[in-house]
């Protein structure tokens, strides 16, 4: 490695429920706003950075160059290059890894990683029969042929199609997949509701303490994460009906993340660049890893991060006790709880080729400022939300403090990383 990649800080929009206050905002707008807030916080207006990497999971064809276009709309110098990158819910973290790696290799001295998603502005497509009929009409050589082609269109073909949220290979939705995992790992409803309530309470306390004053910039008049319910409780959550796993299911709308809109960014640089530009340095980006599971063969779709964490710890000579803070993305409360059980399982861990169980996590280190259940989860943004928040928490604890990030993603993938406070 030529230089250390460090996290300077971050900025995100408040996250909001899909169809809510950001219903009219496109991913481009959200990402631009997040970049502009970052530029204002760190005085980057007019500056040329090494590169900006970001992405969106729900993407319109017009957004083929989403990140570059957002850079051009932002106050950064228009000569700042950018690329789109996507790894489902791992996008924000994968983009961070991409920028950190380039900095470490000395290819760039600075960059922004990020992600944006608008579940409100999801791309709507036309049906397959309609597409085929229109193609045939277009290729027709005579009016007669054209009419014949168009005559094949039926009213039902005109119904617009929302983007699929099901796993293409299993036909199951993510919630249905997680319901299988929840059952297999015997995660109780009570434990899930407790985790969800704790997420809301921790996030509310963090907002009250001003923790997000230098991490979030309001957008469209929204100043706080609007999914947050500070007054929720285990009792209130216990009243909700199951959403996944059938009538006996334990997963509800309360312990599953809501479809969300929002964008998040991380500012990274080499230590030298940060120093030269008089910018703060919160944490080093130490290492990262990705792993995948064979979910079509029946493996747990959202437990891929377990293997990713295990192998990353082994190659860094670290154990779970070496971490002061741990952030596990709350796709569902039961994802986090099943992950923790998997970490403790000798059998599961060795089946992944690890030397033994990852270990038992001291729960007081977990998601201490709340996570996706309370904040919301604009798919591509989540990794870029977690990294600067964790870097700030670690920095507040003092130099050398270590943090672990674990994010699960569609397609049976897991993206994980280690940060260390400077």
């Amino acid at each position: 490695m030529n230089s250390n990649a460090v996290i300077v800080g971050g900025n995100r929009t408040p996250f909001a429920k899909a169809g809510g206050p950001y219903a009219q905002a496109a991913s481009h707008d959200l990402l631009t706003s997040a970049i502009d807030g970052l530029a204002a916080r760190y005085g980057l207006s007019g500056m040329q950075l090494g590169e900006v990497a970001a992405g969106a999971v729900l993407k319109h064809p017009r957004d083929f160059n989403l990140t570059r276009e957002a850079v051009l709309s932002s106050s950064l110098a228009p000569t700042t290059p950018a690329c789109d990158l996507q790894q489902a819910c791992g996008t924000g973290l994968e983009a961070t890894i991409y920028i950190a790696n380039k900095i470490s290799l000395g290819q760039i001295d600075s960059g922004i990683a990020g992600g944006a998603d608008s579940a409100s502005d999801a791309p709507i497509t036309v049906s397959e029969p309609l597409r085929k009929a229109l193609l045939a009409a277009n290729a027709a050589r005579s009016t007669g042929e054209r009419l014949k082609a168009l005559a094949r269109i039926r009213p039902s073909h005109l119904k617009p199609l929302a983007p699929g949220v099901n796993e293409p290979r299993t036909g199951l939705s993510m919630g249905e997949h997680q319901a299988l995992t929840t059952k297999r790992w015997e995660v109780t409803r009570e434990a899930q509701d407790e985790l969800a309530a704790a997420s809301h309470h921790s996030l509310a306390a963090a907002w009250d303490a001003g923790f997000f004053d230098d991490l979030v910039t309001p957008y469209l008049g929204v100043a706080k994460d609007s999914i947050l319910r500070p007054d929720t409780s285990v009792e209130k959550l216990a009243k909700l009906k199951p959403a996944f796993g059938g009538p006996d299911g334990t997963m509800t709308a309360g312990n599953s993340t809501a479809l969300s809109d929002g964008a998040a960014t991380v500012l990274l640089g080499s230590e030298q660049w940060a120093r030269d530009n008089h910018l703060p340095v919160l944490a080093k980006f130490v290492d990262a890893n990705v792993a995948a599971v064979d979910h079509p063969a029946g493996e747990d779709l959202l437990l891929a991060p377990v293997g990713a964490v295990g192998h990353m710890l082994e190659r860094n000579g670290l154990t779970i006790e070496d971490f002061d803070l741990v952030e596990i993305h709350e796709a569902f409360a039961s994802t986090v709880l099943a992950t923790l059980k998997a970490w403790e399982s000798e059998e599961y861990c060795t089946s992944l080729g690890l030397n033994g169980a990852i270990g038992t996590l001291d729960r007081s280190k977990l998601n201490t400022m709340g996570s996706s259940l309370a904040v919301g989860h604009p798919f591509a943004a989540t990794g870029a939300r977690i990294v600067p928040s964790l870097a700030k928490m670690l920095h507040d604890l003092g130099p050398g403090k270590r943090g672990l990030v674990s994010v699960c993603a569609a397609g049976g993938q897991g993206v994980v990383a280690i940060l260390e406070a400077v």
Binding site: S33, D36, G37, A39, A40, R41, Y42, G43, S45, G46, S75, G210, F212, D213, D214, V216, T217, P218, Y219, L220, G221, A223, H278, L279, P280
Partner: protein, 449 residues
């Protein structure tokens, strides 16, 4: 815009209002611009202070026409841009006739947005001399009210030992368009040296200026004008205003700091932000402020307390931290503190007891701080805006708003940039001799001292 307001600004409404005596207000000359016509210099004695200052400003001047006891008073022939009177040696009542004699032809010949500037010595000497010094104030205020077409009159009292370099930023400000909405005002310039003997185009180059309340209105305008003058802006506003704060910060190439200024650690947070960037603060402009208007009989402890805390107490808490030289990122020696007072504070305003208390308090604060900070070369001053056209004043009902607008010598509301320009003048390193002053930016509002 309400129906009544639309009617008022329609061609028919305009014709009616003009016949009723509500003429269109004059367009004011603004920015770093000099008068079009000649600058006339009228020394009323041996003093060369004003002549020397005009030299430093690089301004040519011509001799005054003096009123003679004849049937038809002589005229200038063409419009003049300004009359600058050096009254440093004026100490007698008889001598006031010399002042009248240069004022009379000049007032008649003054161009639109022209300037009358009287430079006089601080009160000293015998009873008559002191009385004459004060008489000038009455003359200045009255001339301000009589001048038309956006012309203004201002009086500057200068320390006896002051030199031209002490006066250069002040005379430059008053003659330029930057002082467009400053009219009928009087303030003092001491002989505190700045070592600067010219008017600098970008006086704040590479200097860090913190502006609280920078997200919108007057605060945003202050950030823009100070950035124009070279300042590196640290814009501060409450986290909820972060979106517009970020826009302003990016526009002026500064940084945004989302912060509740009433928090106990607000001053420390600002200093830390500046220190982290390896800098120190040159100027602090306390622009953040709120109103919670109610008649006193309806004002509860909450309305009272929140206004006093945001507008005054928070400012004092932040100053205490930011003026501690031991704290990294605090205000450097030779720095500047500027508060925003208000004509409501100076004159009182129905429904604003809490606001008037806080704003009059700001006046008292800068007057108290000024002598204490003088040893470090730091000045503390305030500006007191009158009716300024902002989103806040746009919410005042139309008729009331139109009355407020026209209740001054310039018959119009001021622009946020007018307030910003006055602050820029106070922040100018060359304004070292302006300390503990409150300058009203009110177009010579009819109310207030």
């Amino acid at each position: 815009m309400g129906a009544l307001e639309k009617l008022f600004y329609s061609p028919v409404g305009h014709a009616v209002s003009t016949r009723a005596g509500l003429a269109d207000p004059p367009q004011l000359r603004r920015g770093r611009t000099w008068p079009d016509g000649t600058v006339v210099l009228a020394p009323l004695g041996a003093s060369t202070l004003v002549a020397d200052t005009l030299d430093l400003l690089g301004l040519e001047s011509s001799d005054p026409i003096v009123d003679a006891p004849a049937d038809s008073p002589p005229g200038y022939g063409s419009r003049i841009g300004a009359l600058v009177i050096d009254a440093m040696d004026l100490t007698t009542i008889v001598g006031l006739e010399d002042l009248r004699a240069v004022l009379r032809p000049a007032v008649r010949a003054l161009e639109g947005s022209g300037r009358i500037v009287i430079v006089a010595r601080e009160a000293s000497g015998d009873w008559e001399a002191k009385s004459v010094t004060r008489a000038l104030d009455g003359i200045n205020r009255t001339v301000g009210k009589e001048l038309r077409r956006g012309a203004t009159s201002n009086l500057v009292y200068v320390a006896a030992d002051a030199s031209a370099s002490n006066l250069v930023s002040t005379l430059g400000f008053v003659l330029q368009g930057r002082s467009a909405f400053v009219d009928g005002q009087t303030w003092h310039v001491s002989d505190a040296s700045s070592g600067i003997d010219e008017l600098i185009e970008k006086p704040l180059q590479d200097r860090v200026v913190v502006v609280t309340g920078a997200a919108r209105g007057i605060g945003a305008s202050i950030a823009r004008i100070l950035a124009r003058d070279g300042a590196t802006i640290v814009g501060v506003d409450i986290p909820a205003a972060g979106e517009s704060l970020a826009e302003v910060a990016n526009e002026v190439g500064g940084t945004a700091l989302q912060l509740d200024i009433t928090a106990d650690d607000a001053g420390a947070a600002i200093a830390e932000h500046v220190a982290r960037r390896g800098e120190r603060i040159y100027g602090v402009v306390h622009c953040a402020g709120i109103t919670r208007d109610k008649m006193l009989v309806n004002t509860d402890a909450d309305r009272w307390g929140s206004v006093l805390d945001v507008n005054l107490a928070a400012q004092i808490r932040m100053n205490e931290v930011l003026l501690d030289p031991a704290i990294p990122g605090s205000v450097e020696d030779g720095g500047r503190i500027v508060g925003i007072a208000s004509t409501s504070g100076l004159a009182g305003n129905k429904g604003q007891t809490n606001y008037a208390a806080s704003k009059a308090g700001v006046t008292g604060l800068v007057e108290a701080m000024a002598p204490d900070l003088a040893s470090r070369g730091i000045t503390a001053n305030a500006v007191a805006p009158g009716f300024i056209e902002t989103a806040m004043t746009a919410r005042i009902p139309f008729i009331q708003r139109e009355i407020f607008r026209r209740s001054n010598s310039l018959s119009q509301g001021g622009q946020p940039e007018d307030v910003a320009e006055a602050i820029g003048y106070l922040l100018d390193p060359a304004s070292a001799g302006v300390n503990g002053q409150v300058i009203r930016v009110c177009g010579q509002n009819l109310v207030g001292a």
